[in-house]
């Protein structure tokens, strides 16, 4: 069964159609062609598909496209301000936290959601925010560095 999905993505009203079985991730990537949010495990076990949905980071691969109706969604494409990168994006580049980059959009979204709440994240806060995001390249060290650097910059400490 086909549905019309009217939703708001990165502040813009968009419309598309999807099957009722379509996931929000597939709707974003295949129907709307927003390729930034990534497909990986497709079962909610890796965080590569993380988006902000009504203010919360969620796994779009295990969310219905139908749930986008009337929702406010932020994807990785919505973070930069024109050419100016969001501090989290810039920090990921600056610390070398981007190797292959496939986990990066999901991470940046999760980290943005964290730093929107607090710019003094403790180790527990960081673990809570991103233990649902797998990275296979970096071993996580430089990602932690990026989170701290972004927090410092947002808070004006760096």
């Amino acid at each position: 069964m086909s549905l019309t999905i009217n939703t708001t993505i990165n502040g813009k009203s968009v419309s598309g159609s999807a099957e009722t079985s379509t996931s929000l991730l597939d709707f974003l990537r295949d129907t709307l062609e927003y390729k930034g949010t990534k497909l990986c495990c497709n079962t909610g076990e890796c965080g590569a598909c993380t988006i902000i949905y009504n203010g919360m980071p969620i796994n779009s691969c295990v969310t219905m496209a139908a749930d986008a109706i009337g929702a406010e969604i932020t994807t990785i494409e919505g973070l930069a301000d024109g050419d100016k990168l969001h501090p989290v994006q810039q920090a990921f580049i600056d610390t070398g936290a981007v190797q292959c980059g496939y986990c990066t959009p999901g991470y940046i979204i999760s980290v943005k959601a964290l730093l929107d709440r607090t710019t003094k994240p403790t180790a527990e806060d960081i673990e809570e925010a991103v233990s649902g995001n797998i990275c296979r390249c970096t071993g996580y060290n430089k990602i932690v560095d990026a989170i701290h650097l972004a927090a410092d910059r947002i808070a004006g400490r760096a």
């Binding site: 549905l3 079985s21 909610g44 980071p57 295990v62 219905m64 233990s131």
Partner: protein, 289 residues
């Protein structure tokens, strides 16, 4: 696949009555979406998130009422739950990942009835009840009769869980939820143990004790023989050791890709022992001698 967004419990129930086994209820979707992708698509999907009145957490005398659409994250960030029902809070805190907790509902976790479902052993130990709605009326059912097997509950194909009611534990009780898994994040419990102890006035013996075991039987279970053995007894290391061994023998785990049955029994023993020690210490200030 047909798709419906009922606007009331009655509407949902008539859809379930109409479609029976063909219908699948979906809330957060973190389980059902995976089924749709990797198993069969159901004939009809019933999205219950538009039904009002199922999303509240409210106190009701000596109970906490939690609507079935309340998300795990909403429970985790609720200070009443954290203060008054820490066993339940801990399970929600260790649940999957933040992304999943933001959309997964407590109703979904319960109705999925997976033997390893995170909230299930704690709800048994807290002697919580579910409010089940059927076409011919509502009833309240304690969770210890609700779970009938992996994926099977007394809801059958036609019922809807609308709310859970969790009584606050007796004064002086303390409890823990201990989860055994490999990573400490994003894990499905290999074994889950929930313990609640109520010391007697002298803080020497167990006036009451409840032990819930998850992932070691076809449903979450209470270790009732162990509880009976423990009740009224003065607490010491030997008793706790005996109880831990007995709890392990009450479990009937399987061997699967996550763990052998043997290992699960070892863990039941270890976590029951730890759970009793920690709960007793929290309740009485005393270390188990």
């Amino acid at each position: 696949m047909n798709y419906f967004e009922p606007k009331s419990v009655d509407e949902a129930l008539s859809l379930l009555a109409k479609y029976g086994e063909e219908a699948k209820v979906i809330a957060g979707g973190t389980d059902v979406m995976v089924d749709i992708k990797y198993k069969e698509e159901p004939g009809c999907l019933v999205n219950i998130k538009k039904i009002p009145g199922l999303g509240a957490i409210q106190e009701n005398g000596g109970n906490l009422r939690v609507g079935s659409l309340v998300t795990i994250r909403e429970i985790e960030t609720n200070s009443i739950v954290r203060e008054r029902l820490p066993v339940f809070w801990e399970a929600c805190h260790q649940f999957a990942s933040l992304q999943i907790r933001n959309t997964a509902t407590v109703g979904g976790n319960i109705c999925r009835a997976s033997p390893s479902g995170e909230t299930l052993a704690p709800l048994l130990v807290l002697e919580a009840k579910g409010k089940l709605a059927f076409a011919d009326g509502e009833k309240s059912e304690p969770f210890d009769s609700f779970f009938q097997g992996p994926g099977k509950t007394t809801l059958g194909y036609k019922g809807l869980l609308t709310e859970i009611e969790i009584p606050y534990p007796p004064n002086g009780s303390r409890g823990v939820y201990l989860k055994h898994a490999v990573r400490g994040a994003m894990d499905i419990a290999m074994v889950g143990v929930a313990v609640l102890v109520t010391p007697d006035a002298a803080k020497n013996s167990l006036q009451d004790v409840r032990i819930g075991l998850g992932a070691v039987a076809p449903t979450p279970i209470r270790a009732t023989k162990t509880e009976a053995m423990l009740r009224g007894k003065p607490v010491d290391a030997a008793l706790v050791k005996e109880a831990a061994a007995m709890a392990a023998s009450e479990s009937s785990p399987i061997s699967d890709q996550r763990s052998s049955a043997e290992n699960r029994r070892w863990i039941v023993e270890a976590l029951t022992r730890r759970g009793l020690q920690q709960s007793w210490q929290a309740a009485t200030g005393k270390e188990v001698a």
